[in-house]
């Protein structure tokens, strides 16, 4: 993937670039808002990582301008401003996701991957399938290898989110934000319990597990290779 990092803190920018390159991405970096706007307008990127407080032009207005000119490259805001209000502002300005500093690099990678994937599969789907697991959004039923599986509403929503992002790592925070709309981390790792329950129903009676634990990051639902 081609990633544009707009970040004025040199140390943070090089850390980001290094990590993204190691993960196999191509990285361009801009040190201020003006340069970022120029790069974003002149080249194609799969995803942009934008700091909110930038010299020259702040991240919010930069994204607003990009959106106004028809640029719909996915944007992830990376900011030290982390209150709910700040997040809402970022998303309203046209950001697709919002990550608060300090952050775990695995979290960032998982998020940008999901962002790019979401953009490529824009059409509305009524049926999701991964290997022999099928999820019908209209009848709200789940089948694996032709066998019907009973899920509680929240388990269904969790599975839907995992399936929509099949193949990508999904972190606990991403699940809390997207399935429960919780924009804070509960004290206990509640997500693990929910995943364990889902595993019981989806994977236990089948020879190949689909839900995988990604150490230090989260979970990933993917077909066996």
């Amino acid at each position: 993937m081609k990633v544009l990092v707009i970040e004025d803190d040199q140390q943070a920018a090089s850390y980001l670039a290094k990590g993204l390159k190691e993960a196999g991405h191509v990285v361009d970096a801009a040190n201020d808002g003006k340069e970022g706007l120029f790069l974003a307008g002149s080249e194609h990127y799969d995803v942009m990582i934008v700091d909110r407080m930038l010299p020259g032009r702040d991240g919010l207005s930069l994204v607003e301008i990009l959106r106004a000119t028809g640029n719909d490259t996915p944007v992830l805001f990376l900011s030290a401003l982390g209150s709910v209000d700040d997040r809402v502002k970022g998303l309203k300005a046209g950001g697709d996701d919002y990550l608060t500093k300090p952050f775990a690099f695995s979290e960032l990678l998982a998020r940008i991957e999901v962002l790019v994937r979401r953009r490529s599969a824009a059409q509305p789907q009524t049926r999701l399938a991964v290997a022999d697991l099928e999820l019908d959004l209209l009848s709200r039923t789940v089948r694996r290898a032709g066998k019907s599986i009973d899920l509680l509403p929240r388990e269904f929503a969790l599975l839907e989110y995992l399936m929509r992002n099949a193949g990508s790592v999904v972190t606990r925070t991403m699940m809390l934000e997207n399935v429960w709309d919780y924009h804070f981390d509960p004290q206990t790792n509640v997500i693990d319990v929910h995943i364990a329950r889902l595993r019981q129903k989806i994977d236990k009676d089948f020879p190949t597990p689909l839900i995988h634990t990604v150490r230090g990051a989260g979970y990933s639902l993917r077909a066996p290779q």
């Binding site: 209000d85 929240r154 509960p186 004290q187 206990t188």
Partner: protein, 465 residues
Amino acid sequence: MKAAIPTLRLLRTTPFRLALLYLGLFIISVGVILAVVYRSTAGFLEEEIGATIALEVAGLQDQYRSAGLRGLVDSVRERSGYSHTNSIYLLTTPGGVILAGNLSGWPDATAGPGGWTHFKISDYGGVNNRPSTAMAVSFVLPGQFRLLVGRDMSELDQLRGRMVVSLRWVFLVTVVLGLGGGLLLARGAMHRIEAINRTTHRIMAGDLSGRVPRGGGGDEIDRLAGNLNAMLDQIERLMTGMRQVTESVAHDLRTPLSRLRARVELALIRETDDPEVYRGVLQDTILEADRLLATFTALLSIAEAESGANRKGLEPVRLADVVRLAADLYEPVAEEKGLTLVTDIRAEPTVRGNEQLLAQAVSNLLDNAIKYTPEGGRITLLLEGAGPGQVARVTVADNGPGIPADMREKVLERFVRLDTARASPGNGLGLSLVEAVARLHDASLRLEDNEPGLKVGIVFPPDAG
């Protein structure tokens, strides 16, 4: 010199200026009243004298008509003959020869309107030789004889003089009393304002325990003092909280940070070729850092709720949604631990609030209940609607060990944990956040005995809806 300074300062104070302004108006009105009194008294006497003279003139004119010049001369001589008389007479021939009267010559003074003249008697060898003025009327009789009839005005002048003197005294006393009274009143008010100033100075100097004394009269200065004291209570509470937090942060974060440092240092000292050792240390380091970050995040959430900056962003929140979501998230967690979580939604109240913070508060309560209730226990999440003094109440009750009554206040403080050994996970910030969220919503947090266990209720006041 020392006493002069407060007095000078007093002169510059608002109460004194107001008193001075009032005094000015008062002096003007007293002046006007005195002038009216003076004019009406003196004027009345002068009119009386004028009327008497006019009567006398009429009498003399009658005399002249009936008895002729001879009779008039006799009459004037007879009347001016009395010693110590106040009356003045002068009758002259057309040539100016005095025929009768008690003046040595015709006064020079020109007659005013109605023929009235004022002159000094002493200049004309007048009655008793008093240096007083006289008021007279003169006219010409048939045959060009001239007659002057008047009155010695010395008594009236004396009266006037005395009146002026006493009125001046009245005026002076008024000014002195007014000024003194104003000063006294201003000083009374100033004393109380000075007390407020002294208290604020003491507080600025660092003594937060000072409070403004109250008069007890319930006037506006008392209300001001009351408000100041309430404000000071709030500030003191915040400052104490802040100090306590700073100390707790220093204490509670020092331990994990030094542990972190020691671990990394040890890994560096023990040189080894096994990358697994380093990997393990790094993983532990990340875990420790995550715990530290979680603590900071919790502190930030508390600060966010406490700053009240969110107050303007409050919007209607359906509490049932918040409760359902939290129950949904925690039910499997409770079950995992062998606990029963019962959700009982008895009403669908709406309050003005911050949904995320409320969700976090309810989550924290459930988290605590699950953490501290032993296996086989039962947790109840209850949402009630309007009741006496409340629009809604969210209660989390468990049948765990509970909190002793004397510790219930204490656990709301930041970083305070009953488990002093810190064996259980957590940072001791959970209930502090719940309390801060409750306060943001003007709700009260109630910690009660569930007999056995703990019952925590967030009670929203009626105007929260």
